[in-house]
């Protein structure tokens, strides 16, 4: 087949679903209008550890409009089969009202179902729960770590890091602390559940319709085929909708109990209890180096929080192993089980936390050795992956720094802290590396070309704001030689061809490659139909010499000879052509595949008042081919905003006396507002990575947040001479 001309891919298209969104027509989970729907409100625990001794539901139950109050005392026993498909955090997942145990503050202990939301809310407040409370442990720094590594983590060694540290010219020992962060998407979690006999339909906020399908099926002991999950629009998630949480099961349980469709939307406060968070970390990092800045050793000792009922894990080891050419490395990872709910992967999981420690440490070393921090990184740039000895598919970090330094004006920087002032403000600049895996998964798609020359492409993928609708439309349009407006991409339905969860930045590469394959097949079908059709002007032409543009097949180099899809299908009495396609990543790629970024930040610090304001940021990304530049920018700028939040503002605060989260709202849990966001700029290195996948993309959505916080922290040091190893950086650390 001849390669198709690129027209839509690479064009700065606006979101194809933008009009639906800004006119309120995009239906998010709670927006679906389901006949006969009633409302559920969760009652949550007010202790963090102990037993429920009594639940008084009389006042709630007798309130007009209330249909049922469900607690562990009257809930049916659910099947809760093992579910090998959803994410394996070893342990026993939180169940809906199956026993009297309270395992964290804010755990659902009852649900009220009523004909109106108001009645359900009022009744929920009338449910009186009595407890036998035990003293909870919720402080990472004051509780013992579990013996042995968490799942999927391995103590890692190469060389002899202790010996190398001991004999290093320069040795630095640092402890970093990261506070717990919550995802806080704009759209709260919501589910509408409807049973039709033993078939369940869920309208759900999710980043994984197939995950939700399997979890609901296993909870109720029904075949996955009996569950359909719909999630056409998701208002942000950042990882917290990758898992199907207990409230989804509660909604379905309530619907079954009252024999009506049930809508359950979490309140903003409840969003801090049961839908995960980025765990708090304590990260001890030691490094050894020559005087000329060649790293000789790094040791990483990290511990982070998890619940007592599940062992959370995330990819916090990769950066320490592969980012720099360090001959001697040791890593030890531990989890600290606490009376808290289970964490969940949050944008750039593991990598982001590790990057703060590693990239701040690199800045500290650069300062100590009087080496420019970019130069220090370049001196330790590996030629191959130091952890696997594999060649990199592409690694253009040097170029990221070169382009970034030029665009940012890095050469004007004075490396001496407190050397630049603007009135009461000290000005500083900082830099850090960002890096994230090219994570890939098997994906499938279906495409149907109709007689009117339009196409519908489907895959059970998701668009949590990432722009999947748009980028897949662009890929399909080019593969089929159609205008963007003649392509409709559909997603978010578990009956569509399976696709991976929308996490770990894998959608563009994985689903994109499947869409490419599917549309290539469909185009090939049309071409074959034409060249085998005696009545077609393309009859007898070699398929390799046929391209499609603007819905018209023609001979390459001879646009006059050809015909449109519409003519071809009409003449052949075909209502449509359709194709199924898929893409499966190589089992054992021989390449080490990562996306890279150079992050630059300029901050102003009012040291007298302890204020930090980011003045500008630049990210330069080696992310492979950029399919949809405008949406890539939305990702990149959003990643910087998220990074600014993590660096300066975001901190879930727990009162360790009773395990209560004290800032479970958006007034007290601070995320950046417009005024905090200055001039942000994203630049993408031109190029593709066809070793990673057939469409040449790497990964972007996580990459763009990793390295932001250390770049800011390093800029704060340059401004003030104050090294802060704890996030967020607050006024009291700088006064």
């Amino acid at each position: 087949m001849s390669p198709q001309p690129q027209a839509a891919v690479g064009a700065p298209l606006s979101r194809v679903d933008g009009r639906l969104k800004v006119t309120g027509q995009a239906k998010y989970a709670a927006d679906h209008d389901i006949d006969g729907v009633v409302h559920a409100v969760i009652v949550e625990s007010t202790i963090a550890r102990g037993r429920i001794t009594d639940i008084d539901i009389i006042a709630a139950d007798t309130l007009p409009g209330v249909l049922k109050v469900i607690t562990h005392l009257n809930a049916p026993k659910l099947a809760y089969r093992d579910n090998p498909v959803t994410f394996p955090f070893p342990g026993r997942r939180l169940r809906a009202f199956q026993d009297d145990a309270v395992q964290f503050f804010g755990q659902p202990v009852a649900v009220v179902v009523a004909t109106t939301l108001e009645a359900a809310q009022h009744a929920a407040d009338l449910v009186k729960v009595s407890y036998e409370a035990e003293e909870p442990a919720t402080d990472l720094t004051r509780s013992p770590a579990e013996d042995g590594p968490p799942p999927f983590a391995q103590p890692y060694t190469r060389g002899d890091a202790q010996e190398a540290l001991g004999s290093a010219d320069v040795r630095m020992d640092m402890t970093f602390r990261l506070s717990r962060n919550h995802h806080n998407p704009m759209e709260p979690h919501a589910t509408i559940a409807r049973w039709d006999g033993d078939k369940l339909t869920l309208w759900d906020k999710t980043q994984w319709v197939i995950g939700a399908q399997n979890e609901a099926a296993s909870a109720f002991g029904i075949p996955p085929a009996n569950v359909r999950v719909l999630s056409p629009f998701v208002g942000g998630a950042f990882g917290n909708a990758l898992r199907t949480w207990v409230h989804v099961v509660i909604a379905a349980l309530a619907a079954r109990e009252v024999e009506r469709p049930v809508k359950l939307a979490l309140t903003r406060r409840q969003m801090y209890f049961t839908v995960g968070y980025r765990p708090a970390y304590e990260y001890k990092l030691s490094l050894g180096s020559t005087r000329r800045g060649r790293l000789t050793a790094m040791t990483h000792e990290m511990k982070y929080e998890t619940s007592r009922y599940e062992k959370f894990w995330e990819a916090n080891q990769a950066l320490g192993q592969m980012l720099y050419a360090v001959p001697n490395v040791s890593q030890n990872v531990q989890i600290v089980p606490l009376d808290v709910s289970t964490p969940m992967w949050m944008r750039g999981p593991g990598y982001g936390s590790a990057a703060f420690a590693i990239e701040t440490a690199m800045d500290e070393l650069a300062y100590k050795l009087h080496i420019d921090p970019i130069e220090l990184r370049l001196r330790n740039e590996p030629g191959e992956d130091p952890s696997t000895q594999q060649p990199f598919s592409t690694r253009r970090l040097r170029e990221c720094f070169r382009v970034g330094a030029r665009d940012f004006g890095w050469h004007r920087r004075n490396p001496r802290p407190r050397s630049t002032r603007d009135g009461d403000w000290l000005i500083g600049t900082g830099v850090a590396t960002g890096c994230y895996d090219v994570f890939l998964g098997r994906a499938n798609a279906h495409a149907r070309l109709d007689a009117d020359g339009t196409v519908v492409v489907q895959s059970a993928t998701h668009d949590v704001g990432t722009g999947t609708y748009t980028s897949m439309t662009q890929l399909a349009a080019d593969a089929l030689g159609l205008a963007v407006r003649h392509v409709t991409f559909q997603l978010g339905d578990s009956t569509m061809p399976p696709a991976p969860p929308q996490g770990a930045s894998q959608t563009m590469a994985s689903v994109g490659s499947a869409v490419q394959d599917t549309c290539d097949k469909l185009r090939q079908q049309a071409i074959t139909l034409a060249i085998e059709d005696e009545r077609s002007p393309l009859h007898g032409v070699d398929a390799k010499n046929v391209v499609v543009r603007g819905g018209r097949l023609h001979v390459k180099g001879d646009t006059a000879r050809g015909e449109t899809y519409r003519q071809l299908l009409a003449r052949n009495n075909r209502t449509h052509l359709e194709a199924r396609g898929s893409w499966t990543p190589e089992e054992n790629s021989r390449f080490s595949m990562y996306g890279y970024a150079a992050m630059f930040a300029e901050v102003a610090v009012d040291a007298r008042l302890g204020l930090v304001r980011v003045r500008r940021m630049l990210g330069v990304y080696d992310a492979g081919r950029i399919v949809s530049p405008k949406l890539a920018d939305s990702q990149a700028l959003g990643g910087m905003v998220g990074g600014i939040g993590a660096a300066l503002l975001e901190h879930t605060v727990t009162d360790h006396r009773d395990g209560r989260i004290v800032n479970a709202n958006l007034a007290d849990y601070l995320v950046p507002v417009n005024a905090d966001i200055p001039d942000l700029k994203a630049v993408y290195l031109d190029g593709e990575d066809y070793r990673a996948d057939p469409i040449g993309v790497k990964s972007l959505g996580e990459l763009v947040q990793i390295g932001v916080a250390p770049a800011i922290a390093n800029a704060v040091f340059n401004a003030t001479g104050r090294r802060v190893r704890e996030l967020p950086i607050t006024a009291e650390a700088l006064l």
């Binding site: 407040d125 204020l611 300066l648 006396r657 209560r660 004290v662 007034a667 507002v673 005024a675 006024a731």
Partner: protein, 326 residues
């Protein structure tokens, strides 16, 4: 939220009757509705006073300013008289909340707003303000944002209003109308320190209605301004703040009006700082010396010790900013 009844009143007489019968006044609703949703507030009757004729800003006979209780925050901040005579009020208002909230919230409601103490707003926590006698979870809990001045063992919550800090600095009066007639209360006496009754927050009698806040005629020229220190640049309550107004004539400070926010259980007037300024010539040394007296009597808690130093620096910075301005 619990069920409630709702009535609108169109004249003050109706309002007072409804208020005397236990109705809660509601205007912009930006605080009360939030708290009702969290079931912190459970009023049985809401009396909507938005229709009352209390929406004027007028210059008083003596040259002060009378701001009607129902003038919106945004309207007050933008009012030409407020801007020219008392920029400290405009600035305090514009650094408050968000544009949307300022378009709804009224001046009367602003000074009536309740604390942002997270334990007060979480009905499952102990709070003497919400539930007298239950204890104060903040005293030994998470108290980074809490008060260091005017606290008691029963309550350490700050008063959240910025405008109230400006009003306290300028020695405003609160005009009240009740079943027993009209009275004027000095701002310093209107908001109450918690003592052993933190549930009593204002010197209001049953059914009394705020009709206006009056700023007295102050000597002119008067330079003034508001500084708010907070973790994020907008839409956050103050860690510390300072309202400063200075009357300088012949190179000497003749009158000084200074109050601090974010640090007190009520807007915290700083007479010791004012005294140190009056009769002196502006200088960086004077600002530092005077501001050094800002935290007298401070009683910091476990997580808010930094506020003692931050308060002094905030006051110093704002004295300099106002004092050095033309």
């Amino acid at each position: 939220m619990h069920p409630f009844s709702y009535t609108r009143v169109t004249d003050t007489r109706q309002a007072l009757t409804a208020g005397r019968d236990g109705g809660r006044y509601i205007a912009g609703g930006t605080t009360l509705v939030d708290l009702m949703r969290e079931t912190v507030e459970r009023p049985e009757t809401l009396v909507d006073i938005s229709g009352l004729p209390l929406r004027e800003v007028t210059v008083t006979r003596r040259g002060g300013l009378r701001i009607g209780a129902l003038v919106r925050m945004a309207e007050t901040a933008a009012h030409p008289k407020v801007r020219s005579l008392y920029p400290v009020i405009s600035q305090a208002l514009e650094l408050s909340a968000s544009a949307q909230l300022r378009n709804m919230a009224t001046i009367g409601g602003n000074i009536m707003q309740r604390t942002r103490c997270t334990y007060f707003r979480d009905v499952s926590a102990d709070c003497n303000k919400r539930e007298p006698g239950s204890g104060c979870a903040a005293l030994h809990g998470v108290n980074r944002t809490h008060a260091i001045l005017g606290t008691s063992d029963d309550c350490v919550a700050t008063h959240p209003s910025d405008a109230a800090v400006a009003f306290a600095a300028l020695e405003a009066q609160v005009h009240l109308l009740g079943p027993d007639g009209e009275r004027h209360v000095p701002f310093a006496d209107f908001l109450l320190k918690p003592g052993s009754t933190p549930n009593r927050e204002q010197a209001l009698r049953r059914g009394e209605l705020i009709t206006a806040v009056e700023i007295p005629a102050l000597p002119r020229p008067l330079k003034s301004g508001y500084l708010k220190v907070r973790d994020r640049q907008s839409y956050e309550f103050a860690l510390t703040s300072a309202a400063v107004a200075l009357h300088v004539r012949g190179g000497v400070i003749r009158d000084a009006y200074v109050a601090a926010g974010g640090v007190g259980t009520v807007p915290w007037k700083l007479p010791a700082v004012e005294e140190a300024l009056v009769g002196e010539r502006p200088s960086d040394r004077l600002w530092a010396e005077a501001a050094g007296r800002a935290a007298g009597g401070a009683r910091p808690l476990q997580h808010n010790r930094f506020k003692v130093e931050l308060l002094k620096r905030t006051v110093e910075r704002q004295l300099r900013t106002v004092g050095d301005s033309k």
